[in-house]
C-alpha cells in the first residue's frame, strides 16, 4: 500500500502547510472585500508569529501567546487602516512599508532580547498548541482506508488548524448570511451606495481591517507556537504573498480560497517530498518548478487566459464623498 500511505503522508503535510495560507488568505479576503488592498499580510504574519512566541516564552502559555500574537497583528493592521482609510494613502505603499517594518522589527527586537540572531529560545511543549486526538481514533482507525484517513489526516492536528478550517464556513456564513457581510461586500464594490444608505463606510472598513488583523495574526501564531516551537526571523518565507496569490486565484471567495490554499499547500508538500526524486523518463523533477507553480498560475489567471480575476471594484480606492 505504498502509494496510498505516501498520499496520506503528503496530504497530511499539505494540510499543515496550508493552515497559515488559509488564515492569511481569509484575512486578505476580509480586508479586500471591504475595499482595503492588503499586500502587508507577510509583515503581519511575522508580527503575529514573533509576538506569540515572545509572549509564550515569558508566560509559558500558548493561549496568552495567541492573544499576544493576535493583538500585535491588530495594531499593525490598524496602522494600515489609518493610512488607507483616514489618510487616503496609496495602499500598496502602505503595505510595502508594513512588510519592511515588521520584517526588520521582529528580527531586531528578537535579537535585542535573546541575542540569538533574532531567534527566540526553543519553547517547551507546555507553551505550544499540542496536537489533539479526535475521539474514537482507535475504533474508526481500524476501518481500512477511511480509518487511515481519519487517524492520519483528520486527527492529530492542533486547535489552530481546526479553527483555520472552521474559519472558512464561518467567513462564508458571515459574508453571505449576515447584515455585516452584506454591507461589507457592498462597501468594497460601491462605497457611495453604502454611504447613501446611511451606513458608515469608515466603520465598516475599520471592522474589516481588524478582522484581517485577527486572522493573519493567527496564521503567525500557528507558525511559531503550533507548527514550530520558536520564532525565527523571516520565518514566514513569503507565505503572506502566496496567500495573496491564492486570494487572487480564488477570486476573493471563501470556499475557492480554501481549495486554492490546499492546492498550494499540496504543491509545497510535493516539492519537499520530491526533492531529488527521479521520475523515470523525465529525470529529476525540478523542485523549483513546483514551487513557482502557484505564482505562475496566478499570473496566468490575472492575465485573463483562464477566466478573469476581477477584484472588488473599489479595492485600493480611498472613499471620498463626492462634491
Amino acid at each position: 500500500m505504498g502509494w496510498f500511505d505516501s498520499l496520506v503522508i503528503i496530504s497530511d503535510s499539505a494540510v499543515r502547510l496550508a493552515v497559515p495560507l488559509i488564515l492569511a488568505c481569509l484575512a486578505g479576503l476580509w480586508s479586500e472585500r471591504s475595499g482595503v488592498v492588503d499586500i502587508g499580510l507577510e509583515g503581519k504574519m511575522l508580527t503575529g508569529a514573533f509576538a506569540a512566541a515572545a509572549v509564550a516564552v515569558f508566560t509559558g502559555s500558548a493561549w496568552l501567546g495567541l492573544l499576544g500574537g493576535v493583538a500585535a497583528s491588530i495594531v499593525v493592521s490598524l496602522i494600515h487602516g489609518y493610512a488607507s482609510i483616514d489618510q487616503r494613502a496609496n495602499q500598496i505603499v502602505s503595505g510595502t512599508a508594513i512588510n519592511m517594518v515588521c520584517d526588520g522589527m521582529t528580527a531586531l527586537i528578537g535579537n535585542a532580547i535573546w541575542s540569538q540572531g533574532g531567534r527566540t529560545p526553543q519553547l517547551p511543549d507546555s507553551a505550544l498548541f499540542a496536537s489533539l486526538t479526535l475521539p474514537f481514533v482507535n475504533e474508526i482507525g481500524a476501518i481500512p482506508i477511511i480509518g487511515d484517513l481519519y487517524r492520519n489526516l483528520l486527527s492529530g492536528h492542533d486547535i489552530v488548524t481546526y479553527f483555520a478550517f472552521l474559519c472558512v464556513p464561518l467567513t462564508y456564513w458571515a459574508l453571505y448570511s449576515t447584515r455585516f457581510g452584506l454591507r461589507l461586500r457592498a462597501v468594497g464594490e460601491n462605497p457611495a451606495a453604502v454611504d447613501t444608505a446611511g451606513i458608515s463606510v469608515r466603520a465598516l472598513r475599520y471592522s474589516a481591517v481588524i478582522i484581517c488583523g485577527v486572522l493573519v495574526g493567527l496564521s503567525g501564531v500557528y507558525l511559531s507556537i503550533a507548527q514550530a516551537a520558536y520564532f525565527q526571523p523571516h520565518m514566514s518565507a513569503g507565505k503572506g504573498f502566496i496567500a495573496l496569490a491564492a486570494l487572487v486565484f480564488a477570486k476573493w471567495r471563501p470556499w475557492p480560497a480554501l481549495a486554492t490554499c490546499l492546492l498550494f499547500g499540496f504543491l509545497d508538500a510535493v516539492s519537499i517530498r520530491m526533492q531529488g526524486a527521479v521520475i523515470p523518463g523525465l529525470g529529476e523533477v525540478p523542485v523549483q518548478a513546483i514551487q513557482a507553480l502557484p505564482y505562475v498560475l496566478t499570473v496566468v489567471l490575472l492575465a485573463g487566459f483562464i477566466g478573469k480575476a476581477i477584484p472588488p471594484k473599489a479595492s485600493g480606492v480611498p472613499y471620498v464623498k463626492e462634491r
Partner: protein, 368 residues
C-alpha cells in the same frame, strides 16, 4: 467634515514636508533604539563613523549606494508613469543571469566581454519586466500583483539554474564559476594603484559612475525628451495624454522595459563589479530598498542619488553598528527603510494640515 487643504508654498511642498516626513521616520527609529536600551546619539555616531569615518567605510558606503541608485531609479521611472513596480528585485536577479551567461559562455577578448555583459544585464532585466508591463498595458493585469509574483518566479528560476545548470561543479554552493577578468567591472582600488593613489580594497567599482550616468540619463529622459514628456503625461493624467495623441499602453510597456533595464544595473554593480560570479540571492532585497529611495528622493534623480547615499551610509554604518552594539542588529536598517516608506510614502500628508495651519497663522499675523 474636513475642509479642503490650502495649497502650500512651493518651498514647503518640495523641501519642508519631505524633510519633516523623513525626520519623523528617523525620530521613531531613535525611539526604537532607546527602547532597546541603547543610546541613539551614540548609535548615530558609530553609524556615521563606520560609513564615512575612513576610506574603507566610504568605499563600502558608495558601493551600496551604487546599487540603490539603480534600483531607486528603476522604481522612480515607473512612478513617473503612474506605475508601481515591486518587481525590481526579481528583474535585477534576472539581469545577473544575463551578465553571467555572457561572461561564462561568450568567448570575447579582454574587457570587450564586460562591455557586452553590461547591456546583457539590462536586457535580461528589461525582458523580465516586459511581461508584467505587457500584461498591465494590454490585459489590465495589476502590475503590483504580477511583479510580486514575478519576484518569486525569478527566485525559483534562478535557484533551479544555479543548483542544476550553472553551478560550478567543484563547488557545493549554488554559484557559477568565476568570470574571466575581462568579464568584471574594474574596482576602484585596482585602478588607482598604478596612479600611486592608495585606496583601500573595497568592492566600490566603476559601476558607481555608471549609476551616476544613469541618474543623469533618467533626468534628461524624463525632463528633456518627448518620451519623458509622454511618460509624465500618462502618469499625471492619462485622459489628457490620450487627447495629446499619446498611447498609454505603449508608454506603460516602454516604461517598464526601461525600469527593468535600470534594475539590471544592480546586477552590474554586485555581480560584475564585486562578486565576479553569479551567486544565489545576490539582490539581497536591494530592489525593495529602491522603493524607499525613490519615495524619499521624490522620484527625482538628484533626490535619488542623495537618498541612495543615505541608505548606503545606513547599510555600511549599520554593519559597523551591529558589531559595536550587538543588540542593534542590521535589521534596524530594514526598520528605518520601512519607516521611511511609511512616512515619506503612505503617510506623506500626515503633517500637511498642521504645517499648512502653522504657515497660515504665521503669514496672517500682523507684523509687530
Amino acid at each position: 467634515m474636513s475642509t479642503p487643504l490650502k495649497p502650500l508654498p512651493a518651498w514647503a511642498d518640495v523641501a519642508l514636508i519631505p524633510l519633516i516626513n523623513v525626520t519623523a521616520a528617523f525620530v521613531i527609529s531613535g525611539l526604537v533604539v532607546l527602547a532597546i536600551g541603547e543610546n541613539p546619539i551614540e548609535a548615530v555616531k558609530i553609524l556615521i563613523g563606520g560609513a564615512l569615518g575612513d576610506l574603507e567605510g566610504l568605499g563600502y558606503t558608495l558601493f551600496y549606494a551604487t546599487s540603490f541608485i539603480f534600483t531607486g531609479l528603476a522604481v522612480a521611472i515607473c512612478f513617473h508613469a503612474g506605475l508601481f513596480n515591486i518587481g525590481v528585485d526579481g528583474q535585477a536577479y534576472l539581469g545577473g543571469l544575463g551578465a553571467a551567461l555572457v561572461c561564462l559562455y561568450l568567448p570575447l577578448p579582454g574587457y570587450s566581454l564586460v562591455i557586452v555583459a553590461i547591456p546583457a544585464a539590462a536586457l535580461f532585466g528589461a525582458a523580465f519586466a516586459a511581461i508584467p508591463g505587457y500584461l498591465q498595458a494590454k490585459r489590465d493585469s495589476h502590475i503590483v500583483i504580477t511583479t510580486i509574483m514575478f519576484n518569486y518566479i525569478a527566485s525559483a528560476l534562478m535557484g533551479y539554474l544555479l543548483v542544476n545548470t550553472l553551478r560550478n561543479p567543484k563547488q557545493m554552493n549554488p554559484e557559477t564559476l568565476p568570470f574571466p577578468r575581462g568579464g568584471t567591472v574594474p574596482q576602484l582600488f585596482e585602478l588607482l594603484k598604478p596612479l600611486g593613489i592608495v585606496w583601500p580594497d573595497t568592492p566600490l567599482n566603476l559601476s558607481f559612475f555608471l549609476a551616476l550616468a544613469a541618474a543623469v540619463f533618467v533626468w534628461v529622459l524624463i525632463w528633456r525628451t518627448r518620451l519623458g514628456y509622454e511618460i509624465r503625461a500618462v502618469g499625471v493624467n492619462p485622459t489628457a495624454a490620450v487627447y495629446g495623441g499619446v498611447s498609454p499602453s505603449r508608454i506603460v510597456i516602454i516604461t517598464t522595459l526601461l525600469s527593468g533595464a535600470l534594475a539590471g544595473g544592480l546586477a552590474v554593480n554586485v555581480i560584475l563589479g564585486s562578486e565576479h560570479r553569479l551567486v544565489l540571492e545576490f539582490t539581497a532585497g536591494f530592489g525593495f530598498v529602491g522603493i524607499a529611495v525613490a519615495l524619499m528622493g521624490r522620484a527625482h534623480p538628484v533626490g535619488i542619488v542623495l537618498a541612495a547615499i543615505l541608505f548606503g551610509v545606513l547599510y555600511q554604518g549599520g554593519a559597523e553598528l551591529a558589531f559595536d552594539m550587538p543588540r542593534i542588529s542590521r535589521d534596524m536598517i530594514v526598520v528605518i527603510q520601512g519607516l521611511v516608506v511609511l512616512f515619506a510614502g503612505a503617510l506623506e500628508h500626515l503633517f500637511r494640515r498642521p504645517v499648512a495651519a502653522l504657515l497660515a497663522r504665521r503669514i496672517s499675523q500682523p507684523p509687530i
